[in-house]
Symmetry: C2
Subunit: 164 residues, 2 copies
Amino acid sequence: MAGKAAAKQRSGCPLSVSLDVFGDRWSLLIVRDLMVRGYRTFREFLHSGEGIATNVLADRLKKLEAAGIITPELDEKDARKINYRLTEKGIDLAPALLEIFVWAARYEETGASCEIVTQMSEHREAVLAETRRRWRERDLTPLIPGVTGEKLRIMKGKGGLLKT
Amino acid sequence: MAGKAAAKQRSGCPLSVSLDVFGDRWSLLIVRDLMVRGYRTFREFLHSGEGIATNVLADRLKKLEAAGIITPELDEKDARKINYRLTEKGIDLAPALLEIFVWAARYEETGASCEIVTQMSEHREAVLAETRRRWRERDLTPLIPGVTGEKLRIMKGKGGLLKT
DNA sequence: AGAATTACTTGCAAATCGCAAGTAATCTGA
DNA sequence: TCAGATTACTTGCGATTTGCAAGTAATTCT
């Protein structure tokens, strides 16, 4: 019931298969919210500033779950809440998201500062490692602090990257 | 007329902006055809094995052109033909496509051989350099020869990569 | 106990998609 | 030369998907 509609006739190309999974305007934004913003709940995704409708959000959460990209976890303190979490398959979308991010920041008018993009390109591996560390340790602090305005700064210490 | 419908209310996040441009099931497949298969015409895109409809293909070509990702060029020998070509902005989607490709090949059931994926991961920079070289020199030989079956082989010589 | 909050579902009009058919310009072969 | 094929589309139409508003059920707060 919650499965994906089997697309009609497509090649087995990995890109094609990928687009069957997240080839729409919303799916990757949910993944982004989970990956870099520390969002976990329906409500947070809904108010992430993109204007997704509730029915579409519910549908995408179902599909992402069916695709094995996210898993729902019950909140221990509040039985109403469902905390979604990226699976390993989900967090492994990080390199793809990073490349898309860098591309758009370079060619489109976006709200991203040149500084952040430069850091992302130059410290690609470190950013990806930090992204994965946050996921592993369930660290919910945003990867890029304060989506509006604040600056990205590389911490010189061990491991610490992209903290405000 | 050929512009994009301005999406309602979205954040200026680069990912969000990207999805406004190619967040659908077809756009990136056209980019792929241009980038790695050496396809250039309406007809080739139509028969690339994905099953896109003619009206949708026409629409996506318009939008990709409006977004500055592709440009149409008149064929010198056949006035009926339009040869589409990636712009620099378009070819710079290569890293993103590569990451998506590798992700899907790893996690989804695709027609890609493990060998090709391994090569792509391990020789990422070389693959990207070769992709760009092909674009620059208008080399139309497929990056991955014979989409079905044939093997990928790394050439040991100078520059030559991913030839059959 | 009443009011919020959370995560949805339902209903409906509008936009988009998939499919089939049609068109205009150009080329090709007898 | 000219009928038929080819190329790049457009048009029409029913089906699906989207966007928006409203409603619902299960908690939790006060």
